[in-house]
Amino acid sequence: MTPNNGAAVAVPAGFIAIDAGDVDAALATRWETLALKGEAPVSRACTLNLLTFVEQLPEMADVSAVVDQVAATHPIRAIAFALDDSIPDGAVRTWVGGLCDGHEDSSHVCSEGVALAAHSNCALRMASAITSSLKRDVPAMLWWRGGSPFVLRLFKQVAPLASKIIVDSIRFGDGAASLDTLRRLAEYRNGSMVVSDFNWERTRAWRATVAACFDDPAVIALIDEFDHCTVECAGKVDGPIAGPARALLFAGWIVQRRPQLAGRSSIVGRRGARGAEGSISAVTLSSSRSRATLAVTWDVAAHRLIGCATDGSGVQIRCLNFAADPQDDASLLERCIATFDRNPLFDAVLRAE
């Protein structure tokens, strides 16, 4: 699509260019048109403003595709915004769309989409355009789909609009530095903003699996035996590594729940392990006193986790299969927007690390 200034911008299909400041009016007109044609429900519902920072302007359509999946079950106003120097310095370019587009079934959820793009010099203008695009009286979450937000002035302008920020700590450079950024976010503005992290969500199935294994009486009976935890990640080398953020978060959770393992956890890389670099491939709790183990491994082919426990003599006592969570961005985003509440466990892990 070519907005009225001539710059080519890959905005989502079906979006139309409008003047900044006309968002509410343009969306209202689209609703009325659809209602009159009988193509959309007459009622207009909205549960959330989802502000999405798009780091690279060409990713706008990709982001929209992810948000569309979430919007299929949550009526939202999705406001995606990007700073890009291909946009001439000056006004903020604005498009609106969404609204049941592409769905013949009029009972389908109808969401509203707003896309904003401006030159990187226009952070203040962008913040003002975002503010005026918000659906009133509806809470807002900020999905920061980029690197550390603290390096951009825009973040400071936009953050106060949202009660929750959703990030992916992988994008912060990974490793311990990314956890520092998470901690800064958790403490930002006196801790008033709730933080969700895709990377933390990616460990959910691992955490659930370890917990579920210990629901078994035979396995919980071994818990005092375990005095070491090894988290294995897909990596470029075999052996101990500094640790990607995901492994650090998981190890932090283990230690937070089982303080006896503090200082007795290690993160090792495994070359050739399936999965993206930094993804967890195995977790083992072991004993220095006996052959008791709890090994949770990732079965790539079956797309599931397998937790097997052996007793003190090395005899396998239990093997359980667990479904893996979907790890695509839409699923992670959906989990992150499910609640506005602070997750005390996540906060505790950040503090513990």
Binding site: P217, A221, I223, R257, L320, F322, T339, P344
Partner: protein, 515 residues
């Protein structure tokens, strides 16, 4: 048992929708209609949504000779044909089928329970189900007592592995066929089980829209101040079906509409609309309040039955433009049957909030439309300051809670018609579940089975709740049994019921809402 005292430190703080504790689900009546139509699809949906615990297996138990492979095939067939299944995934179905087993046995044969017990123990080892059991009794109600007694005699009603483990029993409605039989059945079950082990299922409470009644009332401060006799004129609860008895003549001849719907579903809806706010949504507080309001319903005295309740039976007619036979022409129904297929009641709740507000409840088969709705009709504004000639017929504001289908909420308000004159028309403010959330309403059985796995009894009925409901229905059934209806059939299939039902409201200057 030192291990029984250990607490799992990794469980704390995990936000889990899923059931986490291993469990073995045993279905009594595994060859029956309920199992194939509702339970197996619900269990599959739970598996597909990853809500089942990893240590899980399901065992069918029934008289019908069947192998594991046969039962697994019936699971696969049920998933293939059920309209309740959201998404069919071969790998999920295979994994579930691999965990499905079957034990053949007569419910009255004590030896069969020993066989079952041995099998369950074997499966515990295979699947790590730790001795946790849910027995889902999907059999005719007449077998509930026998099954529970036999389970107890076989030593299967208490958890063998210690107090951290559980044995729970789910029983289907109707729970008894009158107050006396319900009391007897309760006594029989409570002689074998604790109340905390009994999950009396009324699938209506598992419906999203039914639970939304509670959210609507107690999460929206705006309505509480007007939710009482000062502002509400009356309440109508309709549970209407356009279908007939669908070949279930044996069941329906025994049951009738009052036992099938009014005593349970309709009174559940009434209690949710009328209950006082509970201090918490835990099982005890919630059920206390629900039962309290049912107990506050004024008992219908024998000499009041004809003025407070109406019965009906459908004759031939037309439903959705096609011919429909009458109830007495249905296969298996006695030609002179007096089983009611329609009933309407006027209930009064004798408490501070509802004194003087009638609750009209109706349910029937072969009505004009399938619709379950609650209508809350508000009193008119005390003095509309408009010229009466321009007003036309000003309707009461009303709030409709649509339970099924087209789930949602509609508020009717008066609005000025654009133009120079002051003309008022009633318009709808409509909230539709589908249009707002898109998500398909999950089968109520999914929610309730999951709740049972989690040990949450909130949405299940309690001994005193069942008995309180029967106490209001019993006098009516007794009076009706004593006097055969001379006018049956008294409504045509495809209509909204007998004229007497209209007269019930007309006597109060009101009319049933047209659905």
């Amino acid at each position: 048992m030192a291990t029984a005292q250990l607490v799992n430190p990794f469980r704390e703080g995990l936000r889990e929708d899923r059931a986490t504790v291993p469990v073995h689900l045993v279905i009594f009546g595994a060859g029956g209609d309920l199992t194939t139509r509702k339970l197996l699809p619900a269990i599959y949906n739970l598996a597909e949504a990853q809500l089942l615990p990893p240590g899980f297996c399901v065992t069918g138990f029934a008289r019908t000779e069947m192998s594991d492979a046969d039962f697994q095939k019936s699971l696969k067939d049920a998933v293939a044909t059920s309209g309740d299944v959201r998404e069919r995934k071969a790998e999920v179905l295979k994994d579930l089928a691999d965990r499905a087993h079957y034990v053949t046995g007569d419910f009255k044969d004590k030896a069969a329970y020993q066989t079952l017990k041995a099998k369950l123990k074997e499966f515990d080892e295979t699947y790590g189900t730790s001795g946790n059991r849910i027995f889902y009794i999907a059999t005719p109600a007449s077998l509930f007592g026998t099954i529970v007694q036999n389970l107890q005699e076989a030593g299967m009603t208490t958890a063998e592995n210690g107090p951290q483990h559980f044995v729970r029993i789910i029983v289907e409605k109707p729970f008894g066929r009158d107050l006396a039989s319900a009391k007897a059945l309760n006594a029989e079950m409570l002689s074998c089980l604790g109340e905390d082990q009994i999950y009396r299922i009324d699938h209506y409470l598992g419906k999203e829209t039914v639970q939304n009644i509670l959210v609507f009332r107690f999460a929206n401060g705006i309505f509480e101040p007007i939710w009482n006799r000062r502002y509400i004129d009356h309440v109508q609860i309709t549970v209407a079906e356009s279908l007939g008895i669908e070949g279930r003549a044996n069941f329906y001849e025994e049951t009738g509409v009052v036992r099938d719907v009014i005593q349970n579903h309709a009174l559940q809806l009434l209690s949710l609309v009328a209950m006082e706010p509970c201090t918490s949504f835990d099982a005890r507080d919630f059920r206390d309040e629900k039962i309290r309001v049912v107990s506050a319903i004024r008992p219908i005295q024998p000499d009041e039955v004809s003025s407070q309740a109406v019965r009906g039976q459908y004759g031939p007619g037309f439903v959705d433009g096609t011919d429909a036979i009458g109830y007495r022409q249905e296969k298996g129904v006695a030609p002179e049957s007096v089983t009611p297929t329609y009933a309407a009641f006027r209930f009064w709740i004798e408490n501070w909030r509802w004194a003087g507000v009638p609750f009209y409840v109706r349910s029937g088969k072969r009505l004009a439309k399938r619709a379950t709705e609650i209508l809350v009709s508000f009193k008119q504004a005390p003095h509309p300051p408009f010229h009466a000639a321009n007003l036309g017929r000003l309707e009461n504001n009303s709030l409709s809670l649509r339970i099924q289908p087209d789930e949602g909420i509609t508020l009717k308000i008066g609005a000025k018609v654009p133009g120079p004159s002051m003309r008022i028309r009633t318009v709808d403010m409509d909230f539709g579940y589908g249009a707002t959330f898109g998500a398909a309403d999950s089968s109520p059985y999914e929610r309730l089975i999951l709740d049972c796995m989690k040990g949450d009894q909130t949405l299940f009925d309690r001994t005193d709740g069942v008995e309180a409901a029967w106490a209001h229905i019993d006098p009516v059934l007794t009076a009706w049994d004593a006097q055969s209806p001379s006018s049956f059939p008294n409504y045509d299939a495809g209509t909204w019921g007998p004229d007497e039902a209209d007269a019930l409201l007309a006597a109060d200057g009101r009319a049933w809402r047209r659905l």
